[in-house]
C-alpha cells in the first residue's frame, strides 16, 4: 500500500512518497515523512517494513554525515547509492532489510541523478522509478508523459497526475503524499498533497 516514486528533470530530481503509517486495518498516522534528507543535496525515499525503513534510512544518513566529517567532502550520489547497495547486500543473507529505496541527488559535476535500489540490493541508475502497488499507476503515467529535461512545473504536474491515478484506481490508496525536490540549491520539501488532516 506504500508507494514511492521519483523522476529526473532539467537540473533537478523529484521524489514523491505517501505518508501513511499503517498497521493491518488501522492508519496510525497520515503525516509520516518517508523521504529522508541525507545531506544538503541528497534525498532518500524509502518504502517497506516500517521498522527497517526508519532504522536503515537513519543508519545511512549517519554514515553519510560521518564520511563528510572524516574526509571533509560529501559523498557523490553514486557513491551513496553504492554504499546503500553494499549494506543491503551484506545484510541480505543474514537479516535482510525489507526496504525499497529511490535515491535522488544533485552533484555539481554530474547534475541530477536518480537511483533505484531494490530490497534485494539491485542497483540501477534510472530517469524514473517507482515502488509499491502505486508503481503500476505511476510508472504507466510516467512512461506516457515523461520526457527528458522537464521543468519543475511539468514534473510536479506529472507527479500530480500519478497521484491522481493512484487515488482513483488503487483500492486502499494512501491519503496524503509528500513531495521533495533536490537541485543545485539543495534538497528540500516541496509540498504536500492531502486529503485528510492529521
Amino acid at each position: 500500500m506504500e508507494c514511492v516514486f521519483g523522476m529526473v528533470g532539467k537540473g533537478f530530481a523529484l521524489v514523491v512518497a505517501d505518508s501513511s503509517a499503517v498497521n493491518s486495518i488501522l492508519v496510525h498516522k497520515s503525516n509520516e515523512d518517508k523521504i529522508m534528507v541525507l545531506d544538503s543535496h541528497k534525498l532518500m525515499g524509502a518504502s517497506g517494513e516500517a521498522g527497517d525503513r526508519a532504522q536503515f534510512t537513519e543508519y545511512v544518513q549517519k554514515n553519510v554525515s560521518l564520511y563528510h566529517y572524516r574526509n571533509g567532502i560529501p559523498l557523490t550520489t553514486k557513491a551513496a547509492a553504492n554504499f546503500m547497495r553494499g549494506e543491503l547486500a551484506t545484510a541480505l543473507r543474514k537479516n535482510p532489510y525489507m526496504v525499497n529505496i529511490v535515491l535522488a541527488g544533485y552533484d555539481k559535476e554530474t547534475g541530477p541523478s536518480l537511483y533505484f535500489i531494490d530490497y534485494i540490493a539491485t542497483l540501477h541508475k534510472v530517469d524514473k522509478a517507482a515502488f509499491g502497488y502505486g508503481s503500476y499507476f505511476a510508472l504507466s503515467m510516467m512512461d506516457r508523459h515523461y520526457h527528458p529535461d522537464m521543468t519543475v512545473d511539468e514534473a510536479i504536474k506529472l507527479a500530480d497526475q500519478c497521484i491522481e491515478e493512484i487515488r482513483s484506481r488503487l483500492v486502499v490508496a494512501p491519503q496524503n503524499f509528500i513531495i521533495k525536490i533536490v537541485d543545485q540549491d539543495g534538497a528540500r520539501e516541496h509540498s504536500w498533497r492531502r486529503t485528510t488532516k492529521d
Binding site: 547497495r85 547486500a89 541480505l92 543473507r93 533505484f116 531494490d118 534485494i120 540490493a121 539491485t122 542497483l123 540501477h124 534510472v126 522509478a129 508503481s135 503500476y136 510508472l139
Partner: protein, 133 residues
C-alpha cells in the same frame, strides 16, 4: 517462480575464427514489471576477457565487484592479466565456496587466451564448468 528468473536475463556466447562474441539482453525486471531497458549484464574484466552474469541482478552485481577485486589483486601480484581459463577456474571456485548458500547467477566467460585463441565457458550457479576442460 524461480529466483533465477526474478530479474530476467539472457546471455549467449559463441566462438568464431580468432574471435568470440558475447551477447545479452538489457532488460531489468521485477518479475513481470520492467524497471529498465539499459541494464548491464556483461562486464569487461580486461581487454581480452568478458564476463556475463545472468540470473539475480543483485548477485550479478556483487559477484562482478568481487571478481574485479580479485582480478586487480592478481594484476598487482603477477603484473599481467589473467588468462580466460584461469579466470573461469576462479569464478568456479568462488561459486562453489557458497555451495550451501549459493549466488543465484549463471556466468558466461568469454575471452582470448594464449596466442589470441578464443575461449568461452559457462557454468551453473555452484561452479560446474561446461564448454571447457
Amino acid at each position: 517462480m524461480s529466483i533465477f528468473e526474478y530479474n530476467g536475463s539472457a546471455l549467449v556466447a559463441m566462438v568464431g575464427k580468432n574471435c568470440f562474441a558475447i551477447l545479452s539482453d538489457r532488460r531489468l525486471g521485477v518479475q513481470l514489471q520492467t524497471i529498465a531497458t539499459d541494464f548491464q549484464c556483461i562486464f569487461k574484466i580486461h581487454d581480452k576477457l568478458f564476463l556475463g552474469l545472468s540470473g539475480l541482478g543483485s548477485d550479478a552485481q556483487t559477484l562482478h565487484q568481487w571478481l574485479v577485486f580479485r582480478h586487480k589483486l592478481y594484476q598487482l601480484r603477477e603484473e599481467r592479466d589473467m588468462r580466460p581459463e584461469t579466470f573461469a577456474s576462479l569464478v568456479s571456485a568462488m561459486l562453489y565456496e557458497k555451495r550451501f548458500g549459493r549466488y543465484f547467477c549463471q556466468p558466461v566467460i568469454a575471452g582470448l587466451g594464449e596466442d589470441d585463441k578464443p575461449f568461452i565457458c559457462t557454468m551453473d550457479s555452484i561452479g560446474a564448468k561446461c564448454g571447457s576442460v
